[in-house]
Every structure is written in structure tokens, then in C-alpha cells.
């Protein structure tokens, strides 16, 4: 699973959100590192809907414009959980090996930069 897809599913994990809400939430989740745009978002949403991982929750008309809320399906929740476990295992392995080299993670500064624990496939 690519990082934008993982973040979109993470944004939908807690509650249904509309397209712009997902974009804003992905920005917050990734601490501004990932900037989703409409083309990328809707390509991912379309694929996730086709795969049955995301579905439409409800639709609203706001200022004459369609606003559609999306949510994770049960299959989507399972898929996100599986992916999270996989990433966590990868991160744990990387943490352990770096630790044996004397590099400590978890908010400590390495060479002036904060280390990320999130490693995407």
C-alpha cells in the first residue's frame, strides 16, 4: 500500500469525512509532510471504492455544491489494521537494528533531524 492511500484510510478510520476534510486531515496526520491534491485523492478514493475498502457515507449540498462523505468499510478497517501491523513490525525491526548501532529513536535528534518511525512500503 502506498503512503497516500494509507494516510487517506487513516483519515477515514475514526469518522466519515468529505474530500476536503480528508486532504486537511492527511496534512495534520503527516505533520504537513504529505500534501494531497484533488487528482491524487480522487484517484485513490475511486480505486478504494472499487476494491470495496471505502464507501459513500452520505451526501450533502453545501453552497450548491455536492459534498460527499466517505467511510471505511469493514474490509477497509481490516485492511488498514493489517497494514498498520505490518508497518509496526517493520518499524520495530528497524528500531532494534538501529539501536544495536547505538542510534536511539523516539523523538531524539539525530544529526539535527528528528527521526521518523513511519516507514511506508
Amino acid at each position: 500500500m502506498r503512503e497516500p492511500t494509507f494516510l487517506i484510510m487513516t483519515a477515514l478510520a475514526e469518522q466519515p469525512q468529505h474530500g476536503y476534510g480528508v486532504i486537511a486531515d492527511v496534512g495534520r496526520i503527516s505533520d504537513g509532510r504529505v500534501r494531497l491534491r484533488a487528482g491524487t485523492l480522487y484517484a485513490a478514493l475511486d480505486r478504494l471504492r472499487t476494491e470495496g475498502l471505502v464507501e459513500v457515507d452520505r451526501e450533502e449540498i453545501v453552497d450548491t455544491r455536492l459534498r460527499r462523505y466517505y467511510r471505511l468499510t469493514a474490509a477497509g478497517v481490516t485492511r488498514l489494521a493489517d497494514e498498520t501491523i505490518r508497518l509496526r513490525a517493520n518499524a520495530a525491526a528497524a528500531t532494534a537494528r538501529l539501536s544495536r548501532r547505538g542510534v536511539q529513536l523516539g523523538g531524539t535528534a539525530i544529526g539535527g533531524a528528528t527521526a521518523f518511525c513511519a516507514v511506508m512500503a
Partner: protein, 367 residues
């Protein structure tokens, strides 16, 4: 420039960019994407200190690139049969089965002898079997290539989709080369080109259909149990019925000449209507679904016209080289345009059936 004027211009330009997407994608997401694009200005402002659309009149280059890449992806997904198991993917899968079968059948020496025997019977002549075999011997290279389609047909019944598509292309490319070698010396004779490029053209359609199936086909291969068996039977019946009938029509040439070209087309259409009706009836009795039935029937008829006597009759009757060109009009119409039209109508009917449901029965909220 007023804020409203700038917003209108920006919206117009976003709409222009969104027009690069396939129509079906626009219908599903277009207005929603436009709303998001107009709302999403946080990293996309051009000097407006208050954020928001402000006086922005042009989409940011990064947004333009993102939308164009997204449109390209959408064309790949929606254009090649977006959803697994969609009607379009079904059409490709069925064509990928029916065309290799028809080509393999046409390459069988026994089939050629059968057609000759019908022909001779209808003409009141005795059958010379050796003539059939000699006919094959003159075209060994072409037959070997056509025979490869039997392998493709068998593979198309399995889950080995990519190997099927690869073998189909391996059969197609030499046919194209061979067709080009035949055609090049005959230029500018369009009739010769029409004759020698017919089979390569069917091969290309079959190979493309099998490639689409490999990319976006239904989850399971077309089983030789329901619709596929019907299609195979339809093709056999069509080959057995239509070709001898059109052969028989050769004997009506004087009648047709008297009736003029329009009369000839009417005679041909009436003659073709008989086996077509029989095939459609048979397919219905077998239980082949409407869309697939239309595809199978049209593809089989198209192939028969192309490779068999229908095309020869046209060549016999029509003014040269117009008849050869007509063959190129008739064949795509029968084997391509009709299935596409049938699939389109079926999609529209399905969409109309879904629409009232979605209005009357909103999705329940499971939370």
C-alpha cells in the same frame, strides 16, 4: 478584477482541466472535485494573504500537473473497463473467447472441406475431397498461424490470462507481417489489401480483447458452462448455416444484377437474416444473457463475413475495388459497432434501474 470575477475564472479553468477526465468519471466525481479544488487553497495561493480563493485566477502548476496525471490514470481505469466484472470487461472476455475459436475453426481442414461439400452440394456437383486438402497445402504458413488460435482458445478457458494474451500476440504479429508482405506488392489495389489484412485485423481485435481481459477481466475465467458454451454453439451454427447460404447466393448473381446494387443488398440482408435469427433464437434458448448474446452473434457473423463466403460474394458482386472496401465497412459494423452499442444500451438500462433505488432507498448508516 473583482473577487467574484476571479473565482468564476478559476472555476472555469478548473472545469476545463476536469474535462480531461473520462465522461463517466466526471459524472461520478466532477462536481465534488470542483468543490474540493475551490476549497483547497491552503498550499495553492498566489500571494493572497487571507488564503481562500481570493484573487487567484489560475490553478497552481502543481495542481494542474496533479489533475492531468489523475486524468491519465482515470482513462486507464475507466477506459479499459474500470471495475472487475463490468460489462465492458465481459465484452472483452467474450470476444477473447469467440474470435480465437472462430479463427481456429476456420483454419481446420475439415471445416474447409465441409464448406466445399456444402458448396458443391448446393451447386449440384460431386465433392472432390482432394481439392479441399490441396487448398490447405497452398496456404500452410497462414494455416499454421491460424491454428495457433486453437491454443489461444484453450488457454482463454483457463486462469492463465497473461500467457493467453502473450500467445495471442505471438499469433498476431506474424500474421500482420505476412499480411503486409502480401499487401505491399498489390498497392494501390484496395481489394487485395482488404482481402489480406482481414484476418490480421481480427487477430489484433482478439489480442487486444485478451490483453484487456488480463488487465481488467472478470474475477473468474469465462466458464464453458453457461454463456461461453452458448457462444461456441452460436459460432458453430453460424459457420455452418451462414457460409453455405451465402455461397448459394452466388448462383443468384444474375438475379441480383437485374435488381441492381440496392436489390442485391436487400437479398443479402434477407438471406443473412435467416441464420442470424436462428442463432439469436438458439442463444436465447441456451440462456445466454442479452449483451453477451449480441456480442457473440455479431462477432461470429462478422468473422464469417470476413473470412468466408459473405465477403467473397460481395467481392464477386460489387464493383472493384469498392466491394473490398465495403467488406471493411460491413465487418467492423457487425462485429464491433453492434456489440459496443449493445453493451452501451445495457449499461444505460442498468444505470436507469439503479437511479430510482438510490433516491428512494438511501444507504443505511451502520453506526
Amino acid at each position: 478584477v473583482t473577487v467574484d470575477g476571479a473565482a468564476e475564472r478559476l472555476e472555469r479553468r478548473y472545469r476545463l482541466l476536469l474535462s480531461c477526465y473520462p465522461r463517466a468519471h466526471r459524472a461520478e466525481y466532477g462536481e465534488e472535485m470542483l468543490g474540493v479544488l475551490l476549497a483547497d487553497t491552503s498550499g495553492d495561493r498566489d500571494g493572497d494573504p487571507n488564503g481562500g480563493v481570493g484573487l487567484r485566477r489560475w490553478p497552481a502548476p502543481a495542481t494542474v500537473a496533479d489533475l492531468l496525471v489523475g486524468a491519465g490514470r482515470a482513462w486507464v481505469r475507466w477506459g479499459s473497463g474500470r471495475a472487475a466484472g463490468s460489462r465492458w470487461a465481459g465484452v472483452a472476455a467474450v470476444l477473447g473467447l469467440a474470435l480465437p475459436f472462430a479463427m481456429a475453426l476456420a483454419s481446420l481442414p475439415a471445416y474447409r472441406i465441409m464448406v466445399l461439400s456444402w458448396d458443391n452440394y448446393l451447386r449440384g456437383l460431386t465433392l472432390d475431397v482432394r481439392h479441399g486438402w490441396m487448398l490447405e497445402a497452398t496456404d500452410v504458413a497462414g494455416l499454421a498461424l491460424l491454428g495457433g488460435w486453437a491454443v489461444v482458445f484453450v488457454l482463454a478457458l483457463t486462469r492463465l490470462r497473461w500467457p493467453t494474451a502473450v500467445v495471442a500476440w505471438l499469433c498476431t504479429l506474424p500474421q500482420l507481417l505476412l499480411g503486409a508482405l502480401w499487401v505491399l506488392p498489390t498497392i494501390p489495389d484496395l481489394t487485395g489489401a482488404a482481402l489480406h489484412l482481414c484476418w490480421p485485423a481480427v487477430s489484433v481485435v482478439a489480442a487486444v480483447a485478451l490483453t484487456v481481459t488480463a488487465l481488467r477481466g472478470p474475477g473468474t475465467p469465462v466458464r464453458l458452462g453457461g454463456p461461453a458454451l452458448g457462444l461456441v454453439l452460436v459460432t458453430i451454427v453460424e459457420f455452418v448455416l451462414l457460409q453455405p447460404i451465402t455461397y448459394a447466393l452466388v448462383d443468384l448473381r444474375p438475379v441480383a444484377r437485374m435488381a441492381g446494387s440496392l436489390g442485391w443488398w436487400l437479398v443479402l440482408a434477407a438471406a443473412a437474416a435467416v441464420p442470424v435469427a436462428a442463432v439469436a433464437l438458439l442463444a436465447r434458448r441456451i440462456g445466454v444473457p442479452g449483451t453477451l448474446r449480441a456480442v457473440g452473434v455479431a462477432a461470429a457473423i462478422g468473422v464469417a463475413f470476413l473470412g468466408g463466403s459473405g465477403g467473397n460474394v460481395l467481392l464477386d458482386m460489387g464493383p472493384e475495388p469498392a466491394a473490398g472496401v465495403w467488406r471493411w465497412v460491413v465487418w467492423p459494423l457487425l462485429s464491433f459497432a453492434l456489440p459496443v452499442l449493445a453493451a452501451r444500451l445495457a449499461e444505460r438500462r442498468a444505470a436507469l434501474r439503479r437511479a430510482p433505488d438510490s433516491l428512494d432507498d438511501p444507504q443505511p448508516d451502520p453506526r
